[in-house]
Every structure is written in C-alpha cells, then in structure tokens.
C-alpha cells in the first residue's frame, strides 16, 4: 500500500477534489471515500489529509461548513466551490495528459 509521500505531488489534491465532486463530506468520510473508491489501495493518512484540506480551503478551492452528520454529531463538511470545480477540471486534464504519457512510455519502452 503506497504511503501518501509515494503519491505523485499534487495527486492528493486531485483525489480530495474528486471525492468532493458529488456531495459535501467531512475529513473522515473523505479518507474513507478515497479508500473505498480505490479498492482499499489508496490510504490517505490524517497527517497529510488535514493539512491538505486546510490548504485547499485557504486557496479558495473548497469551502467548509459545520453540519450534523447522519448520527447527529456536528462535523466540518467540505464542499467544492465554483472555482474549485474549475480547478478540478484543470487537475483532471493534466492528470489525463500525464497518465496517458506515462502509459505510452511504458507501452513503447
């Protein structure tokens, strides 16, 4: 299982933004969503997750709101801002370019 530092630089941001694409989530749910969607491959440690969340918030890509969870506890929910959606598009685009380039290289080399 790769450690967060093994993730490509900037990939964590992409994963967070993408996991918030459908609905607002709190930090715990984000880490669970990433784990679940990657079939338990990508486990984001809280030591990387929370600084990243705060950085994305400070950069204006995501916004935070305190809301009740299904179980009735209040938690900090993050959601994509309009600018965050555009940022997600950009990151997706550059990720596709990168992965197709890497794919090509691996196929031909």
């Amino acid at each position: 299982m790769p450690k967060p530092s093994d993730l490509l630089q900037g990939t964590l941001d992409l994963l967070i933004l993408k996991s918030l694409h459908r609905e607002p989530l709190h930090g715990w749910a984000i880490s669970k969503r990433i784990l679940q969607l990657s079939d338990d491959v990508l486990c984001v440690q809280q030591g990387s997750l929370y600084p990243a969340l705060h950085r994305l918030e400070q950069q204006g890509w995501i916004s935070a709101e305190w809301k009740e969870t299904d179980l009735g506890r209040s938690a900090k929910f993050y959601s994509l801002t309009r600018d965050g959606k555009r940022q997600l598009e950009r990151e997706l685009e550059s990720w596709r370019r990168l992965s197709s380039a890497v794919g090509l290289l691996l196929k031909r080399a």
């Binding site: 715990w28 809280q46 929370y50 600084p51 705060h54 950085r55 918030e57 305190w66 801002t81 600018d83």
Partner: protein, 903 residues
C-alpha cells in the same frame, strides 16, 4: 483569480488573523471528530474500549504537530511569529535600558535629521507649485562663456530675439525689478517705498496664474509712460490696504500719479528670489534706456508636447544669431532654459544636498555603532540562542527574531526621529538666511515625511541589523551546546571593520566641518578697514527717467545725457540729514561698501602708458566718506570743497589699486583716465586708503578707484550711467543707529516727497548676511561631525571594554608571569589604535575625494587643506586614545589570582 475566490481567501485570512482562537478551537473539534470516528471503527472491529482509544491515538500520531501543520496552511504564521518576536524584543529593550537609550538616540538623530532634510528637498522637487502645468514653465537665463556657472538675466535684444525667432514657446514675457513710492492709503497707512516688478504682456499667461481678486493685465494696459494700473501682492494688500475686499477699482498714488488697482494676487504667488509686492505693466522698447543691460527676467511657457531639450536647441541657434547681430555685446554669451523648479530652488539645492550627505554619513555611523552594540550583546546571548537551536529553531527563524529586535529598535528610533525632524525643520526655518526662509516655512510634517521616516527606519534596520544577525547566527548556531565557548569567532573581525568604518566616516565629516569653519573664520576675521558700529545706511535712487536722456548708441549701449539735477538732489539729502540731531557725520557712496551684487568696473589707462592697466572697481563718493567710516588714509587727502566740477579732477585709490596700477611707484600726483566715456577727463590721484572689501563673500581685496560724484562728465553710457543718480548714504550716529531711522526718513522725505529712503538699516545689513549663512552652515556641520566623532569614540570604548572583559583570564596570566603595566596597556591599546589608524587612512582617502564636491561652497579655503586634515586626524586619534583610558585602567587593575580562579 476570480473575484469570488479573492473575496473568499481574504475572508479566511481575516478570520485567521482576528478570530484566531475560534479557528483553533474549530481545528481541535475537527480533529477530535476524526479521533472519535477512529475509535468507533476500532470498537466496531471488536477492540476493547481502552485498546480502541490507544490504537486511534497511535494512528493519529502527534496531534499538536498535526494542528501546527494545519495552522501553517493559513499563511499567517509569520504574523504570529512576528507578534511574539516583537513582544520579546520590547521586553529585551526594557531590560537593557542603557543599550536601548544609546542605540535609539543615535539612530533617532540620524533618522530625524535625514527626514527633515529629505522633507525639505522633497518639498522643492515635488511640492505643489501654485501654477497651472508648472512643468511647462521655464525661465531663460544668459551666461558668459567665461563663467558658465553664473546665470545672468537677459537684455532686451535677447528678449526680442527669443520671442521672435523661436517657436517652442506658447507664451513668453519679460519682467523687470521695479520700485515705487506708494502714497498713503485712505485708512491712514503712511506712504512707503515698495519693491515690485514690471510684467510685460505674456508673463501672467506664461505662468498660468489667476488673481485672487479682480484681473491681471489686459492688452490695453500696456502703454508707454507711467503705469495706469497695478496688481497688488497678497502681502501689500494685507498690510497697506488692511485686506480691503473692495480694493479693486480704487485709485492709489504711485510716484505721485493716480493708478487704478485692478487685481490682487494669491498669497503664494511668487517666482523670483525676492517676493515682489506689486506688479505694473511693462512695455519693453527696443532702444529704451536700459535695453543693453542684462536685467530682464524672461519667463516662457512651452507649447504642449515640447521639451526642454527642443527649447534649448532653439535658444542655442538664437544665441549664435545674436552674437552675429550684436558682436560688441553678445560674442561669448549663451542662453539656457531653466525649468521653473530649478529657477526657484536651484540655489539652495546644493547646501541641502551637502547637509543630506553629512546626515547620511551620520546615519551610517549610527548604524555601525548600533551594529557593534548588537554584536557585543549577541555574545552575551550565546546561551539563549544555542538553547533555541537545541529546541529545534531553524536558522531563518533565529535570523528573523534577531531582525525583528532590530526593527523594533529602529521603529522606536523613527518615532523619536520624527520629533527630531520637526525640531530640525523649525531650526532650518529659523536659522536659514532670510531669502530661503519663506520657502522652507511651508514644509509641513506631512504623510510623506512619516513614510520617509518609516522607510528610513526599515533601511536602517537592514543596514545595522542584517550583518550582526548573520554573524551571531553563524557563530552561535554552530556551537550547539549551551555554554560552550568554542566555535568560530567572527565577531572581533566584524567589530574591527565596523569601528574602522565609523572612524573613516567620522573623519570625513570632521574634515568637511573643519573646512566650513575655516571658511567662516577667514571671512569673519577679515579686516573691514572701517568701523561698522553706529553706522546707519539707506539708499536713495533718483528715477532714471528724471535725469537720463538717450542721445545715441556707443559700443552697443545707449548713450545718454546726464542732467545735473540728480547730483543736486543727492547734495540736498546730505545737507538735510546732516541737520538731524544725533547724526555725527554723513557721506555717500554709489554702491554699498561691502556689496554682494554687481560692482561697476572700469578699465584704467595710466597717463603715458601704452596699454590699459586692467579693470578696477569704481565708486562715486561724497567728501567725508572715509572719515565717516573711520577708514584710515595711508597717505594723501580726502575729497573736499576744493574739488569742484571746474577744478582739476581727482581720485582716491585703495592700497591694492596703488600696488597693481602703479607697482613700485608712488601713485600720489599721477594721472589716469577711465574708459567710461570719451570725455571723461584725466584724474590725478590725491590719496591712498586702506582696502575696504567690495564683495561680501571674498577676502581677496580688489583694486578700487573712488572718484568725486561732482566731478563727472555730462554724458555717460549704460550700464553704469545709473550710478550718477544713486547713493548709499552712511550716517555715523552718536547713539543707537536704529533710533535715528524715523528722523532720517523724515529728513529725506523733506527733500523729495516722491522718493523715499530705501533699506534703512545698520551697515551690518551688508556685512553680515553672508557670514550668518556660512556660520549657520558650519555650525550644523560641526554638530554633525562632533556627534559622529562621539559615536565613534563610544564604539571604540565599547569594543575595547568588551575585549578586556573577554581576555581577563589571559591578562591575569600575563600579569602573574611578570608583564609590566606598560606592556599590558600597550597590548590593549594596540588593537584600538590599529583599527583607528586603518579608519583614518580610509578616511583621508575618502575625504580627499568627497571634499572636492564642496569646492564651490568654500571661500578662500582649498578642499585639500592640509591644516584641516591634520587637525581632524589629531582630534580623531585623540578621541580614540581617550576611549582606551578606562578599559586599559580596568585591565591594569586585574588581580591575577582572581582572574585565574575565574575559569
């Protein structure tokens, strides 16, 4: 970046800044939620409660580190660090009051003086000028190729050529100094003599000014003959008309004829050196009386989009054409365009820049001094810094803390400095000689000066704080262990360099101030060869149109018939004032004896000699002048009643003229002619007097010839014809000269009610202004220099005292091994004197270069004056040596036993 995102980010930053505790609490809650979720998960996996919590805590890791990392994302850590550092710095300052006082005071003086002078310069360079588009206004000056630095005004042929043969100017006009007698006002103000200007058409338009009341001149106002309309200055309106709002349209008596007041100018309107009190229309005529003299001030407004360079190009062409058209008067003359600001302030820029240079040196010395203090303090903070490093502080963090401490120090200094700047500006205004004062008075302590002081403080911080911070950081961070004394020792070298630099800078300042003081001493110590005490002077000028009539032209100058009535007028003044009680004697001279302005000069042709003997200054005088002034005769006699127009014409010469014109001979009885006019008769020398200075700023005497004002030809050429109708009268009084001002003015008014006595004041009005100016200047420089030398001495003392305390152990060993007190003293002093010597050598080199820039501001002193350099050197080395006394004494008193036990 979109606006929405920008807004969002700024809201977050503000929240982290002002609601820090709330943000931190939310962060803690967020992480607690995560922790609880982990615990829940572990419980669900079947762990026991305690084990679940422990596992969760292990997963979460160092919680406070995580919080820290999240907080770092707010990008405001620097701010909170700064707040902490600043608080710490303030505590350090409070705990070291001595250090803080010395450092802040020396920086405050530097920053304050710097702010004051830069504020004055800023006001001149960028302050608002009361003109429309002031950057398009220029003054046109002429200059002789022999003395290109000296700007001269223009003659009428110049003016007409500039007006007709150029196309860069939108408007152009000329102005001429003027004086008139103003009749009493209807509200009872007495008649007075007023000084103003004649403005040709185009001047008000070129300047682009609007009157406060009424109007300026219309085309119909420009007519030959005496003026019919007048525009008042704000000052005259306030003083003579008591700010009467209905003054426009009223008539006043000007030189006895009625003139209509058409306007009042705003308070701040002026563009010449002396603010005029009124303006009258001027209609220049090509062949008028004064066409040839360069008295006219030319003002022009550039067309939109035209540059100074283009205008200068055109003027060069016109000047060349003028030299072809009027070879007698214009060969060897050029013209230059002067932007308005330069014309207004150009003359004071140089002294201000000199002061700014001195202040910058003082500020540098103060910085070096504080840097030395910081280094010394750094040594004593070795443990504290090593502790910080051991606790995980990074290098940048330590540097930042040290620099924050420096910044707090200079901010304190900047606040004190603003007070110094305010006081300094008051002093500048009070002490600056009169012509500059009114302009400096307007300088407010404005926002720009606040910014200036702040910027100076920040730059100062970098200058004095950065070096020590790096040195301290590098020296002590490497010696990681608290209390360790090993590690690279760079501070002594840095301190030595700082001290050398201070001594070099202080030396430069000492030399500069020494040169100014010597200048002043030479000027103050010159022999006037007359006794100025108790002498009252006043000027009397018969208007030229009353006694001069143009007859033709001679060598390019109008040539005129002189009416003897002017001489009778002067004669009657003599008689009238002599009857005033308290007047011991009275005499007159055509120009004031110690005169800073133009002195007429004529070429002397000795009888029988082939070539002229050169130019001499020329004065017309009344009998009794030398007795009134108490100027000793070397030989011969004064003019008296024998010397009538019909008798043989005679002259008196001064010592220098006697020596230069008749070298090795006795001039008495010799004859000579002056080249003033063809029918000037030969004159016989009847007396030799001691040299009375002719110029207020020169101590080299120049040859002078005095002739009697009654023995003069009946025709004369300009420019000097006007001296036949003007006199500066000198009245020796038995009591205080000021008490006779009113009676003398009345006695003059009895002779001619239309011409008032002007400039009634003690004769010191001619002898003192230049000295006051120079005294003021050298006093300021001396204060700066002493301050600089004092700071350098304090630094030297500090460095040596520190060195003694560091080497106590070593000195103890030396003493116990039998080193003599002399050897110990020499060892301790060697370092200081070596450093001082290095500084002095650098200082001499620097001073040799820098003082050359002062050459034009010095009188009769060479910039590389050996005496000044030597005295400065002795003074500085003496200061350095005296700084050694206390530390060396302390070194000698070291008890070897105690010193050896101390470690």
């Amino acid at each position: 970046m979109t606006a929405a995102r920008l807004l969002r980010i700024s809201r977050l930053r503000l929240r982290s800044l002002f609601q820090k505790y709330r943000a931190d609490a939310e962060l803690a809650r967020e992480l607690a939620f995560h922790f609880d979720a982990l615990v829940q998960e572990n419980l669900a996996a079947g762990m026991a409660e305690k084990a679940a919590r422990q596992a969760a805590a292990r997963t979460l890791g160092n919680a406070s580190l995580l919080e820290e990392q999240c907080r770092d994302q707010r990008r405001l850590t620097w701010f909170h660090d700064f707040k902490g550092d600043a608080r710490y710095a303030l505590r350090m300052m409070r705990n070291n009051p001595g250090f803080t006082a010395i450092a802040a005071a020396s920086l405050a003086l530097g920053i304050g003086a710097h702010t004051a002078i830069l504020g004055a310069i800023d006001q001149m360079a960028f302050g608002a000028l009361p003109f429309r588009d002031p950057d398009r206004i220029v003054r046109i000056r002429t200059y002789s190729f022999d003395d290109p630095q000296q700007n001269v005004n223009a003659s009428l042929p110049d003016y007409f050529a500039f007006k007709e043969q150029t196309e860069v100017f939108e408007r152009i006009g000329c102005a001429l100094a003027d004086q008139k007698n103003l009749g009493g006002s209807e509200n009872g103000e007495p008649p007075e003599r007023i000084y103003g200007q004649g403005f040709s058409s185009g001047v008000f338009e070129a300047l682009g000014v609007r009157p406060l009341l009424g109007r300026t001149f219309a085309d119909t106002d420009f007519q030959r003959g005496p003026p019919r309309v007048i525009v008042l200055s704000y000052r005259l309106w306030q003083r003579h008309f008591r700010a009467d709002p209905d003054v426009v349209g009223k008539k006043i008596a000007l030189n006895g004829s009625p003139v209509e007041i058409v306007g009042v100018m705003p308070r701040d309107f002026r563009f010449a050196e002396e603010p005029p009190e009124y303006w009258v229309p001027l209609s220049p005529v090509r062949n008028s009386l004064q066409a040839g003299v360069r008295y006219y001030v030319i003002v022009a407004r550039l067309k939109r989009g035209r540059t100074i360079t283009q205008a200068q190009g055109e003027l060069d062409r016109v000047a060349a054409q003028l030299a072809r058209d009027f070879p007698e008067t214009h060969v060897g003359w050029g013209a230059r365009v002067q932007p308005l600001r330069e014309a207004l302030f150009g003359w004071i820029t140089q002294p201000l820049l000199t002061m700014e240079g001195a202040v910058a040196l003082v500020l540098l010395i103060a910085c070096a001094n504080v840097a030395g203090l910081l280094l010394a303090r750094g040594e004593s903070r070795r443990q504290e810094i090593a502790m910080r490093v051991a606790l995980g502080a990074r290098r940048g963090r330590i540097l930042r803390q040290l620099l924050t401490e420096s910044l707090m120090l200079s901010l304190l200094a900047a606040i004190l400095g603003l007070a110094v700047a305010w006081l300094g500006l008051q002093a500048l205004v009070k002490l600056t000689p009169p012509p500059a004062a009114p302009r400096l008075m307007d300088i407010p302590l404005n926002l720009r000066m606040l910014v200036l002081a702040g910027v100076t403080a920040v730059i100062t911080t970098i200058v004095f704080g950065a070096g020590p911070a790096f040195t301290i950081e590098r020296t002590f961070v490497f010696s990681r262990v608290p209390g360790a004394t090993s590690g690279r020792r760079q501070t002594p070298v840095v301190r030595a360099m700082l001290l050398s630099a201070q001594i070099a800078l202080a030396f430069v300042l000492l030399v500069c101030s020494g040169l100014f003081m010597k200048s002043y001493a030479r000027l103050a110590g010159r022999d006037l060869n007359f006794d100025p005490r108790g002498v009252l002077t006043f000027d009397f000028r018969v208007p030229v149109d009353r006694f001069l009539r143009v007859e033709g032209e001679y060598r390019g100058f109008p040539y005129m018939a002189v009416d003897p009535s002017a001489r009778d007028r002067l004669q009657r003044i003599l008689e009238s004032v002599r009857r005033v009680p308290g007047v011991e004697s009275i005499a007159g001279i055509s120009n004031p004896p110690v005169n800073s302005l133009i002195v007429p000069t004529l070429s002397v042709q000795r009888e029988g000699a082939a070539a002229p003997a050169g130019d001499t200054a020329y004065f017309l005088v009344t009998p009794n002048l030398f007795a009134t002034l108490k100027t000793p005769f070397i030989r011969g006699r004064d003019f008296d009643e024998r010397d009538t127009p019909g008798a043989e014409w005679v002259a008196i010469v001064n010592e220098t003229a006697a020596r230069k014109v008749w070298p090795g001979e006795d001039p008495i009885g010799k004859r000579f002619t002056l080249d003033s006019v063809p029918d000037d008769r030969p004159r016989q020398v009847i007396g030799i007097v001691r040299d009375i200075p002719t110029r207020s700023r020169s101590i080299t005497p120049e040859p002078v010839i005095y002739a009697s004002y009654v023995q003069q030809p009946s025709r004369y050429r300009l420019p000097w014809a006007t001296i036949l109708g003007q006199m500066t009268f000198l009245v020796r009084t038995s009591g205080s000269p000021m008490s006779l001002v009113a009676p003398v003015a009345r006695a003059v008014a009895e002779v001619d009610p239309e011409i008032a006595a002007a400039n009634i004041a003690p004769v010191t009005q001619y002898t003192e202004p230049a000295m006051r100016e120079l005294f003021f200047f050298s006093a300021i420089m001396a204060v700066f220099a002493c301050f600089a030398a004092g700071l350098a001495a304090i630094s030297a003392y500090g460095a040596l005292a520190y060195s003694v305390s560091q080497r106590t152990h070593e000195i103890g060993i030396r003493i116990s091994l039998g080193a003599s007190p002399g050897a110990i003293a020499a060892m301790m002093a060697r370092w200081t004197m070596g450093v001082a010597g290095t500084g002095a050598v650098v200082g001499v080199a620097g001073a040799l270069v820098l003082t050359r820039l002062l050459e034009s501001q010095l009188w009769e002193v060479k910039p590389a004056d050996a005496g000044t350099f030597t005295s400065a050197l002795i003074l500085l080395l003496a200061a350095a040596a005296s700084a050694c006394v206390l530390p060396v004494r302390r070194a000698l008193r070291i008890d070897p036993a105690a010193a050896l036990r101390s470690e």
